[in-house]
């Protein structure tokens, strides 16, 4: 029983990073009704860029690396918007899908060529702290990752529901033509969405790097898949859904790993996705297509 409890807590804490990735996917989808498949790669790219501060400032603290990754994520997010969306005909749904796949591969290869594919040591905070209650343990660094992720989600929700930018974003998300008629610059809102999701992605990448302790380009594809699963299970376009689904997928896969082993683990996560697609295609909090 303790093993299951431990697996659930480990998974849920790590699931916070899945939730951050899922939010990035879902936010872009919510606003533009497009999938940005390069999001997880851009997040990992932001995390790598965070390490650049160590070249400039030897002995920089982990929080400075995270901050640098956060900022770099925003820049990468804007570049992704320019290259994959701004100049691409949005009316063709496949065009942006393919341009973001291309961007995923491009970012992946930039990382590989820059680092020669070598894993990079990533700094963490509180990685030597372990909270214990008998045999039950909680990793200090994962608790921090969880706390930062929750804080980021709260700030994002505040941005969306308490600011003019958030209001404009929600307006564009619901009725882009009407929003434009009201004087909202749709292009500007889209670009801002990418910057915000990019910032969040940079932070997510840094949190993933910190919780694993190492960064590798190997991370981009699995995180893309996990992010998409979280987005679908949470409900396309739903931020609370992405949060709940991220934590659920993290806990679920860890329990399944304990129960059935690592080779079957992903099979069950895919089955969970399949079950949602069949029985609840709108996910936890997504809007039903028929009622839109």
């Amino acid at each position: 029983m303790l093993d299951i409890l431990q697996a659930i807590s480990d998974g849920v804490l790590f699931g916070a990073t899945y939730a951050l990735i899922g939010i990035g996917f879902t936010l872009v989808f919510g606003v533009m009704h497009k999938l940005n498949l390069s999001y997880a790669a851009a997040s990992v790219g932001g995390a790598y860029a965070g390490l650049l501060i160590l070249k400039v400032l030897v002995g920089a603290a982990p929080w400075q690396v995270f901050l640098c990754a956060f900022a770099a994520g925003g820049v990468i997010g804007y570049l992704v918007y320019l290259l994959c969306f701004h100049f691409i005909p949005l009316a063709n749904p496949l065009a942006t899908l393919m341009s973001t796949v291309g961007m995923l591969l491009l970012i992946d290869e930039i990382i590989v060529h820059t680092t020669e594919g070598m894993p990079q040591n990533y700094p963490a905070m509180f990685d030597d702290v372990m909270l214990r209650a008998g045999e039950f343990t909680l990793r200090g660094d994962l608790l921090l990752v969880f706390a930062i992720s929750v804080l980021a989600m709260i700030l994002l929700l505040a941005l969306l529901y308490r600011t003019k930018l958030g209001l404009a974003t929600r307006a564009v998300s619901q009725q882009p033509v009407a929003a434009q008629l009201c004087g909202i610059r749709v292009g500007g809102v889209n670009a801002a969405t990418f910057i915000v999701t990019g910032l969040l992605g940079g932070l997510a990448g840094a949190m993933i790097g910190a919780s694993v302790g190492t960064l590798s380009p190997l991370l981009t594809t699995p995180l893309t898949v996990k992010g998409l699963i979280v987005t679908v299970i949470g409900g396309l376009g739903s931020i609370p859904g992405a949060i709940v689904a991220g934590l659920l997928v993290g806990g679920f896969e860890n329990v399944l790993q304990l129960w059935r082993g690592v080779t079957e683990r992903d099979l069950y996560v895919m089955l969970l996705l399949f079950a949602f697609l069949v029985f609840r295609p709108e996910g936890f909090f997504g809007r039903k297509a028929a009622t839109d």
Binding site: Q6, V112, P119, V212, S216, T263
Partner: protein
């Protein structure tokens, strides 16, 4: 005046053409991962091949059947560590004027690739590709037996790990138990644990308590390390490449798992491990078929560095392959002519098959009947920012 200039230019072009025609070349094409997470394998192998070819060419090149000399020309293709791409690349190389291909870097490419080669030489009923492959990096045990056109110059992990566990048993008799950590979805690491390490540990009197499995791109090792902690083995042997090795080692540090001895996978005795988790990898023991301990090894390392590559057990095999090929081409008297391309390929294959020993950077390598190598090796240990020689069992 214009006519004179034109005539001079034409004469110059013919003269240049003639000079170029006199310089014969033999093309050896390498292939391996130059994109993707294991790009460093391909980058280092290519650098070692080019450095070796440069050294051979500076000594005059390869002596051909007619007594003339040919320079070695190296080409290198990227297979992305992907089986389909690897097979396509080799078909392309076989369609070129290359006499042999050196590669691949990944066992998951080598295994299906060797499957498309003709199984037995001169088998008229087998329409498989008749093209020699001389592998430098892909290390999964026993692959060359798939085809008589496949040769490898990779370390024999069964011998190396047998030696590691034998040495551990002899030098630390207090060590009784072994627990494994295995990267389950990578051909090399999976086979190295299940076929080699586990078996060799048991054969040397260790009790194997179990194993924890993870995947190459996993990010969470908590459950696996908890299993490892419960086993409380004296020796933990981790068969994983640097990224997941580092993830596991960091989790072991967090959970306070401190085995008396830590053994690693051959491919992890690289700078990647020290770069990713040098602190946590301190003390890990890994058998390797290369360390720059001989004059030849040091020279090869320096030459490879000039071509922007790093010397390790994999890339130095590529260096050795080039010198072995020079020896074989000269012994088998290849012509180097375009019309004799297939005959030259066959001669090289037969020449490689005849070899019983080759000279390597660490000493003499024995060649086995199934076209594999039995290379000299030693044990290295991570100390500080480098790998230091811990023990030379030979």
């Amino acid at each position: 005046m214009k006519q004179n200039v034109l005539a001079f230019a034409v004469a110059l072009a013919f003269a240049a053409g003639g000079a170029l025609a006199q310089e014969k070349t033999i093309k050896v094409t390498g292939f391996g991962a130059k994109t993707g997470p294991v790009r460093s394998f391909g980058v280092n192998s290519e650098a070692a091949m080019r450095a070796a070819a440069d050294a051979i060419n500076k000594q005059g090149g390869v002596k051909l059947a007619d007594g003339s000399k040919a320079k070695i020309e190296v080409d290198y293709f990227d297979d992305g560590c992907n089986a389909e791409q690897g097979i396509s690349v080799v078909r392309r190389i076989a369609g070129s004027d290359a006499v042999i291909a050196v590669g691949p870097t990944c066992s998951n490419v080598a295994e299906p690739l060797f499957g498309i080669l003709q199984k037995k030489v001169d088998d008229k009923g087998d329409s498989g590709l008749q093209f020699p492959i001389f592998t430098d990096v892909a290390i999964k045990v026993g692959l060359a037996k798939i085809s008589e056109w496949a040769f490898r110059n990779v370390p024999n992990e069964a011998t190396m790990y047998s030696s590691v566990f034998y040495w551990l048993r002899a030098s630390h008799p207090e060590l009784k138990t072994v627990y494994g950590g295995v990267e389950e979805d990578f051909a090399h690491s999976r086979a190295s644990w299940h076929v080699v390490m586990k078996d060799r540990a048991a054969a040397n009197g260790f009790q194997v308590l179990g194993e924890s499995k993870w995947l190459l791109a996993d990010t969470n090792f908590a459950t696996q390390v908890r299993e490892m902690k419960k086993a409380n083995a004296d020796v933990v042997a981790i068969s994983a490449h640097p990224f997941s090795l580092c993830g596991a080692l960091k989790e072991m540090q967090r959970q306070g798992v401190k085995p008396k001895v830590l053994v690693g996978l051959t491919s992890s005795s690289s700078m990647e491990t020290l770069e990713g988790c040098g602190k946590q990898a301190q003390g890990i023991i890994i058998p390797t078929s290369f360390a720059p301990v001989t004059k030849e090894g040091q020279a090869a390392s320096q030459a490879t560095a000039k071509f922007k590559g790093a010397a390790d057990l994999h890339s130095m095999a590529a260096w050795e392959n080039m010198f072995i090929l020079k020896q074989v081409m000269e012994a088998e008297k290849i012509s180097g002519g375009k019309n004799d391309l297939q005959a030259d390929r066959r001669k090289i294959r037969d020449g490689l098959a005849k070899l019983r020993t080759t000279q390597g950077l660490m000493g003499v390598t024995k060649r086995t009947a199934d076209r594999e190598a039995d290379k000299p090796y030693l044990f290295v240990q991570a100390k500080g920012n480098s790998w230091v020689v811990l023990h030379n069992p030979l």
